[in-house]
Every structure is written in structure tokens, then in C-alpha cells.
Symmetry: C2
């Protein structure tokens, strides 16, 4: 039986005003309701109410992970450099990694994810095919030095995560471990009361093949996903790849160079020449592992650097800077055209097919060229789909116009395959007595981020509004203020607690009933029970936080209702 939590003793200070720097609902409300407190940029303290929500989520995650036979462990957060150097991630993570040295000058990092260390643990503990499959998980503090930590606990630099890893000897085994996790995640997010979608995802810096994201739609989300209103297709926008039909080449006149003053944008250029933006060819310069590369897409579309990065991984893609133009007279800023790029690798959208003619930069200041024909005036080195998906783009599965929505990534499942096993030579003795290379999966749930996602999806104008299993209490008992009311409130609280309910009781003296009601709405416990003006008759008011429905009931009936 959990103790009754008395507001008179609980460290919870509610605020009437939003924190100045808060933009998202979850940031505002979690701070205002006293769940979290900012300690540094992207680094948060979990106060008593927040810790309870965090624990409730962890408890659900733990139960469902245990149910699929995953074993809980706890690996360090402070990790030696060497395994991450072996996997190349010491470098690849760039500024995202917190790096430090110990007193002897040895290099360490704060773990952003633990593929390397789990691989080492399994290499040490498992030697035979009989020891596999094995699924391991931990709920642990993770670290990523985000460039713009924002949105409260939605994207922190220190955060709580459940990460798990599966180890199998066969591809079928990996598929099974992956499906077990997928099913467990569905149960977890359903129990959490989250509205979510499972979408195809790119594999990111993790490497590997099959991968899906669990996205909680919310305007505050930092991810955009494409959703087909007709079929079941849904994908992270970076994972949407268009199958474009080749364009028939036609006869075109010779290249013509035009003066194009005052046309700083594609729109002004197209208007000046009286052609649609889609007839122009936009060329973006990037650096791929330090080498300048040009990327051409039709003028009405943008380059998705994420998609480009995925295509070119593990090479690193950066934007060019002013310095990169120095000593490169062949690169004329704002007027780049592929017909003048002899020494530069040229990547283009599939629409830039041989025989198609374009308006593009003339490689001279203030000038553009028309009738620049692919395959005649320039060569495309690689055709890649790298454009940013737009609302209405055709669904790759059925062709219907896609919808775009914002969402919070709450979970991610990967079939890593043998990438890390190869790095660390993780083999076990197979049934035939020969070493078998292990294949891995990696699976994550953002536990602290789930708190924010739930707040985003469930809050209303009055405040937070938690689903039952996640809420810091089942019932919020409010003593309106008079001695008799406080007495009744405490009595009801004890009875509810004895019947197994988790109870928060607002027994604060010297706080007006109005403030207590406002606080109860803000804190967002699912049921509110008020010992108010009819306390002398043993009648209380019961209110549903979500629907706002309220009703007066005799105490015994209210207790029976709440503990049914």
C-alpha cells in the first residue's frame, strides 16, 4: 500500500506563469506543475511528481521487456574511448558526443547509446550457439550534446532511455527478436496511453538495414512523417523515396546565356524568364568527406540533407562555407550550373534525366543559361532521390497524395545485422562446431521523452491530464479549507489508499479553494475528489479530470466508484 502523499509536505510548487523560454506545451506545463526543474541547458531535475511519472513509465517498460524474455542489466554511462574508436563512432558522432579525460589523461565518453559495450559484454559471456538468442536491456541515463537543447525534457542533453539489444546466430532469429520488440513496444505505448504510428525509418548513424520508428504525432514534435491517407504507408520523411518514371528526351536548341539581373531566387528567375520553377535546375554545393560535390534538383524542390546523408553514409555531408569558394573561380556563388563543373562530382534528382533541358546558372556572375541539356551539356554522376518530401507528393506505395505531420520519436527499432559483430569479431561456436558470426538488433525507447510526449498529447487548457497508469496518483483529494473538510479529505484519502489507490491529498492550510482547484487541474491526476461545502453531510464531489464531468456522491459511494 502506497503512502498518501500530502501536498502540505510534498515538494511541489506550482507556477501561474509559463517559464519565459518555454515554447512547447510539455515544457510549460511540466515546469508550471512542479514536475521538473531546469538545472542547465538541456539538463533537468525530476522533482517528486515528475519522478513518479518517470517511474511509472519505467515500470511499464520493464514489465513488457521482461515479458518477452529480455534480461535487465546496467552498463556504465562513463565509457572508454577504444570500443567507440573501433566502431568509428568516436569520430562520427562529432560534437554530439560528450568527451572527457580522466586523471591519467585517458579518453572517455558519456554513452549516447551502447551497441559497442553490449557487443563486448556478449562476446565475454556467450561462447556457444546454446547461449543465444539473448536479449538484454537497461533503463539508463544517456548523454547527447545537442546543438539546440530545447523543448524541456523533449530533447535533453541528459535523458532517460530504455535501450535493448538482441543477439542471434541467424537472420531469422534476428527477425524474431525484432518482431518480439515491435510487439512489446506496441503494448508499452498502448499502456502508456500514447497515440502513435509505426513508420519506416532510415537507419541513421547506426548502420544496418530494417528499421522502424514509433512516432507520437504532436505539433511540438521535431520529426516530420509522411502519411498516406489511402493505404497503410507511413514513413519518416527522410525515408520516403520516390520511384520516378524516366522522362523522354526531346530535341533542344543550343545553350543560350542570358542576363538575369535582380533574380536572387528561383521564383524571381522563373518569373523573369516566364518559365515554371520546375523548369529550372537548382544546384546546391556540399562537402562530402571534405570534397566539394554539387547536387541538382528541379527548382521547385529542396534538397533533404538527411536523405542525402543517408545515401552517402558513412561519408559525412556538410554545407559549403564562404571559405570553400576561395581559390575556386569555377564555382560562382549563386550562378552554379552543371555544364561548367568539370572537376566536381554531380549528383542529381532522377528527373534530371538524359535529354531533359534546364534553365540553370551560367557560371558567370548575374547570368543564367537556358537549353542546358543533361547528357549533352553535362553528365550526371549519380541519380539519387534527395528532395524534401512535400505535402501531396505521391505515396510510393499507391500514388495517393501524402499528408505530412509533425511527431515526437518515442521509439526506434533497428535490425543492425553484423556491423558491430564484425567490428568486435563477435562469434559463437555453431551447431556444426564452427564459429558463427552473431547478428544484432538494437531497440530504444525515450523514457523521459515519453513523459513530454504524453504531456503534449493529453494536456488541455487547464493543465496536464495524465492517462491512468502513468499519472503520479490515481486520485487527487482536495480539502476545500475548513477543518471539517480537511478532516474528511484525510479520512477519505486514507480509505482510498487502504483500498489500493495511489492518493495525493491537498491538505494545505492557508491556501484558497480556488488555488487548490486550479492546482489540481494543472497537476492532472485523472480523478479529483473534493471535500467541499457538503462535507458535513458526508457528501463529496467527484470530478473526471479529462471530461470535466462532476457529480456529488456520498463518501462511501465515491470510494467504491474510485476503487472498483
Amino acid at each position: 500500500m502506497a503512502q498518501v502523499q500530502r501536498m502540505s509536505r510534498l515538494m511541489v510548487k506550482t507556477l501561474r506563469d509559463d517559464p519565459a523560454d518555454a515554447e512547447t506545451i510539455s515544457h510549460k506545463l511540466l515546469v508550471r506543475a512542479g514536475y521538473v526543474r531546469r538545472t542547465a541547458a538541456g539538463i533537468w531535475s525530476w522533482l517528486p511528481l515528475g519522478k513518479k511519472v518517470l517511474d511509472n513509465i519505467s515500470h511499464i517498460v520493464r514489465e513488457e521487456m521482461d515479458a518477452i524474455g529480455a534480461q535487465e542489466v546496467l552498463l556504465p554511462a562513463l565509457l572508454p574511448k577504444e570500443p567507440y574508436e573501433a566502431s568509428d563512432r568516436w569520430e562520427e558522432y562529432g560534437d554530439l558526443l560528450f568527451r572527457l579525460k580522466d586523471r591519467k589523461g585517458a579518453d572517455y565518453l558519456l554513452g549516447p547509446t551502447h551497441e559497442e559495450i553490449f557487443t563486448q559484454v556478449v562476446k565475454d559471456q556467450c561462447t556457444s550457439y546454446k547461449d543465444l538468442p539473448v536479449m538484454l536491456y537497461q533503463i539508463q541515463t544517456k548523454y547527447r550534446d545537442e546543438a539546440r537543447p530545447r523543448s524541456g525534457v523533449l530533447r535533453g542533453r541528459e535523458f532517460q532511455m530504455k535501450d535493448s539489444y538482441s543477439f542471434d546466430t541467424t537472420d531469422e532469429g534476428l527477425e524474431e527478436s525484432y518482431q518480439l520488440h515491435r510487439a512489446a513496444y506496441q503494448k508499452i505505448f498502448a499502456r502508456l496511453g500514447l497515440d502513435y504510428r509505426i513508420v519506416s525509418a532510415v537507419s541513421g548513424a547506426m548502420g544496418g538495414s530494417a528499421s522502424e520508428e514509433f512516432l507520437a504525432p504532436a505539433p511540438a514534435g521535431e520529426d516530420t512523417f509522411a502519411d498516406c491517407p489511402n493505404c497503410s504507408y507511413a514513413a519518416n520523411t527522410e525515408a520516403v523515396t520516390f520511384a520516378l518514371s524516366p522522362v523522354e528526351g526531346a530535341e533542344h536548341g543550343p545553350v543560350e546565356v542570358l542576363d538575369t539581373p535582380d533574380t536572387p531566387t528561383i521564383e524571381t528567375l522563373a518569373a523573369h524568364l516566364g518559365v515554371p520553377a520546375s523548369a529550372t535546375l537548382k544546384n546546391l554545393l556540399v562537402k562530402v568527406d571534405g570534397e566539394i560535390v554539387a547536387v541538382g534538383v528541379p527548382g521547385h524542390r529542396d534538397v533533404d540533407l538527411g536523405k542525402l546523408g543517408e545515401h552517402l553514409a558513412p561519408a559525412e555531408v556538410e554545407l559549403v562555407t564562404a571559405e570553400d569558394f576561395e581559390g575556386r573561380p569555377d564555382l560562382v556563388r549563386g550562378y552554379v550550373g552543371p555544364q561548367g563543373l568539370d572537376k566536381v562530382r554531380y549528383i542529381a534528382d532522377p528527373r534530371v534525366a538524359p535529354g531533359t533541358a534546364w534553365v540553370t546558372g551560367a557560371n558567370e556572375d548575374g547570368k543564367h543559361a537556358r537549353n542546358v541539356v543533361a547528357g549533352r551539356d553535362f553528365e550526371v554522376d549519380d541519380h539519387l532521390d534527395v528532395v524534401v518530401v512535400e505535402e501531396g507528393d505521391p505515396c510510393p506505395s499507391c500514388g495517393t497524395g501524402l499528408k505530412l505531420d509533425r511527431a515526437i520519436e518515442i521509439g526506434h527499432i533497428f535490425q543492425l545485422g553484423r556491423k558491430y559483430a564484425d567490428t568486435f569479431q563477435l562469434d559463437v561456436l555453431g551447431q556444426q562446431g564452427k564459429p558463427v558470426r552473431v547478428t544484432m538488433g538494437s531497440y530504444g525507447i525515450g523514457v523521459s521523452r515519453a513523459v513530454a510526449a504524453l504531456a503534449e498529447q493529453t494536456a488541455d487548457g487547464q493543465g496536464l491530464c495524465w492517462p491512468a497508469e502513468v499519472a503520479p496518483a490515481d486520485v487527487h483529494v482536495v480539502a476545500a479549507g475548513k477543518a471539517l473538510q480537511t478532516e474528511l479529505a484525510l479520512e477519505v484519502a486514507e480509505k482510498l489508499s487502504a483500498a489500493g489507490a495511489r492518493v495525493l491529498v491537498d491538505d494545505r492550510a492557508g491556501v484558497s479553494p480556488g488555488v487548490k482547484f486550479t492546482d489540481a487541474e494543472l497537476i492532472g491526476v485523472p480523478k479529483i475528489l473534493v471535500a467541499g461545502r457538503r462535507s458535513a453531510d458526508g457528501v463529496v464531489e467527484l470530478k473526471d479530470r479529462r471530461t470535466g464531468e462532476r457529480e456529488e456522491l456520498p463518501v462511501a459511494e465515491a470510494i467504491a466508484r474510485l476503487t472498483a
Copy 2:
């Protein structure tokens, strides 16, 4: 109902041999029994069995902290430099602190303890005397860059700790919070099954006044404590202070300088001159905040640098190096005497009282002096008790000869007072409407260290031997090997689990009964149930891991016995 843990699926690999670098019982056995694995120096991974023990301990700690009304929170481990700079601990911690920079070059540290951050949280959340007292705790990963991380999880660089902090407006309130913690700690350590002593402690780098340590006696311990066999006195050796009676001064002849060849030690010097070692005066040179200071003690005693450091805190005490003698002809290495130390501060043991005569260095190479009289030939700037306590020294309380024992510090409680409240100006509005400065306590339990302490105290020649509430399971069921035995073992395991017991069952195929028995002893679950040769008759063997008592019983009776 907890799931039955099947050894055939559990990631636990036992080892027959001790790890090469392991010196202590807990290090050897926790590794050999598959509880922990070393990831880097002083940085450990907790494998499934180890994680269970860690969780069981955390659960007990949590229950007892909740019972005294402490509220659980979770503060960050990655902390900004500024609050630790304000308290001077950014510097004071020296090399013990892991420091790092983020991508913007801002300074951070990995929290070794959280007084600063808790003070800030309370300053933010509590504004009135009505908000106090408050006690907050967390169970969290902590970091200390130990110079010599050793002994496995006994002294790691990353470790699990329960730290709590109390905030009161009065000294009486602090005393009460302190006593609540003291009582809770007694319950916790009793439930853990630890043999422990509560001893007076020095306050260390924490500052503040009253302080006690909870010590678990064990030969592997890094602390020594003095224990009176007659009265209740017990103290950390650094906290033992002798009340020495002043020595009556006598008439002495003039100082006499003697050639003392081949007397490199006090023992050889005393023998050469035919005096007891206690008649000689040993002078140790140290640097106090960079300035050279001499410390004199009778020749038969040693200087306790910890005690000296405590006396002089917050000044920092270091040993002198060869370079410190350069350009100091007044300091003759090995022949220092206080009569020649005009410009050096001289601290001495209370026995070096005015009028006492000593044999000491003559400040000339190869020479000593006799009849060097305190108050006549030299002055003592400060009389401080700084000698290392020795077995048989008189108990400060009753005079009986003290015993010295090794122990592991498993808990520490401090009355910090207003040190941190002063630093951060933590005031609340008092009952009279005026600001009142808050007074604090700080309390810690080494959760991961408690695992090691328990292993040290309870292990025997066969392996680990956990107390009931801490053990990774209640019953270890061993299937001797034949199909019928495995069937019975699994059946018994399920029945025990259904009756509420936590069960580990060794259902591994292809592992000999002998190996299974050895593993069961090594893993150390309190009760071992063997489905062996009499399985066909429904008779099993029940063994008590600690006493070794074994008995054959019908299955039903064994289950009844184990779940009584």
C-alpha cells in the same frame, strides 16, 4: 508473481578461476559468479544477477527512506561548474572530479555528491517556513575519479549511491532529520543483513559538524576504525583525538650536538644513543597551501595526514618533494630539528609540551642534537593531536586500550549546518515574517558498495552466500540432468513461483550435476533444491546454502517449507 529465471536462458557465465587482478573476496566472487563485468578501470557493468541484487538493495533503501517521509527525486549527474565553483568544491575536489566541456566550451562535471544542486532546487521550490522541513533523496549514478580504483565494485569510479539531504529552519529540526536518517539507516543495514558499527567520523571535505559513519567490518575494507572493548566508544581512526595530560617540565642541560653516523631510522638512532624511541622527536615536513610547515611527533608515533588535514581544512596538505628542498639550506633532509626552524611554522603533538627535552635533528648532515627543550630552544606554534592511532592507545572515553579493525564505509550521515545555505543564500520566510537561513544535513549510502560489503561479509569457501532479502532469488532449483529430473525441477520451480517465491532454476542441458552444484554454491542463493536421484519418487533434496544442512523431502513438503 515474478517469472521463473531459467539458467538455460539467463546470461550468467561462471568462472572457475579468480580474475588475475582481483585481491578481495567480493571482486573475485562477483566476477566468477557472473554478477559484474569490468568495462574499464573502476567502471563496471552489472549483469542480470548483479542487477537483481542492486535492485533488491535499492528497494529496501527506498522503502525506508519513504517511511521517514523523504521524497524521491532524480537530479542530473552532468552538472554545470558554477554552483561547485560557488562552494569552492570545483577546486577542492582536485583530481577526484571528472570535468568536461560541452560543444560550446562551457565547463561541466560529473556529480560526486549533490549538496550544491539540492540547495538550489530547494531555494527554487521552498520559500516559506511552511515548506520545511523537507527531506529529499535520489538513488543515482555518481562519479569519482579515484587514483587507484580497485577491489571491484567496492571502490569504483562510477557507482550507485543513495544520497539524501534535509532542510530545516532550526538546529533542533536538523537534529531531528539527522536522527530520522540514523534510525532509517539502522533499519536498512539490518534488513540488508550487514554487520555494521556506527562510529564518530570527521567531516571531511563536506564541511560541517556532527557526523557519523556506518562501517561494515571486513578485512578488505579501506577504512580503519578504533573500537573500545570496554565502553561504547567507536570512531574512524582519523576522528580519534587523545586528551593528553600536560607533561611537567624539568631542568635540562644545554643542547648537545652529536655525530650520529649510520642512523637512518628512529630505531637505529634510539639504539645508537641508548634512549627509547619515545624520547626522540620526529619532524615531518609538509606543504600547507603551498607553504612548508614542520610537524613534530614523538619518535615512536607516526603522523596521520588525514587527521592533520582535518585540523587544517580547508587548507590543503601535501607531502614535500625533493624540489622543495632546493634553495632551502635551512632544511637538511633527514636531520630537521625545530630549534633551527626560524621561518617555518611548527606544529607538534601535545606531548611536545613546554619544558620537555628531546633528541632530534641538528639541522646538519649526519648529526642529531640532545637536550633540545620545548619552550627554551624552540617554540611550538600549534599543539595538535595528529598521530596515527595505534592498537592499545587509550580510549578517549574510558582509557581502555583501543582495538583497531578494518571496515568498509557503507553509510555516512552529516549535520552540514549552514555552509551550503550560506553559499547560495538559502533563506525562507520565517514565522515572524523575516528571512531565516536554512540548515542542512546530508546522508549517503553506497548502494553498489553495499553489494560488495555483503559479499565480503557473507561469502564462504564455496562462494557467495546472500542474506534472504538481497539474494537474486529465494530458491535455486537444480535439475540434476536426466529428463525426468528436469521435468520435476521445472514443475517445482513453477509451483514455488506461483506461491510467491523468486526462483532460479538450473535447467541447462549438457552440464554435469557436479558443475551445477558448484555453480549453485558459487551464486549463493539461500536455499538450494535438487531434483536428483529420487525424482521418480517425488523426493527432492533441500539444502541451506549457509549452514550446509541438507535433507530429503517429498516435493509438496519442500514447497511448503520454502514458502512458509
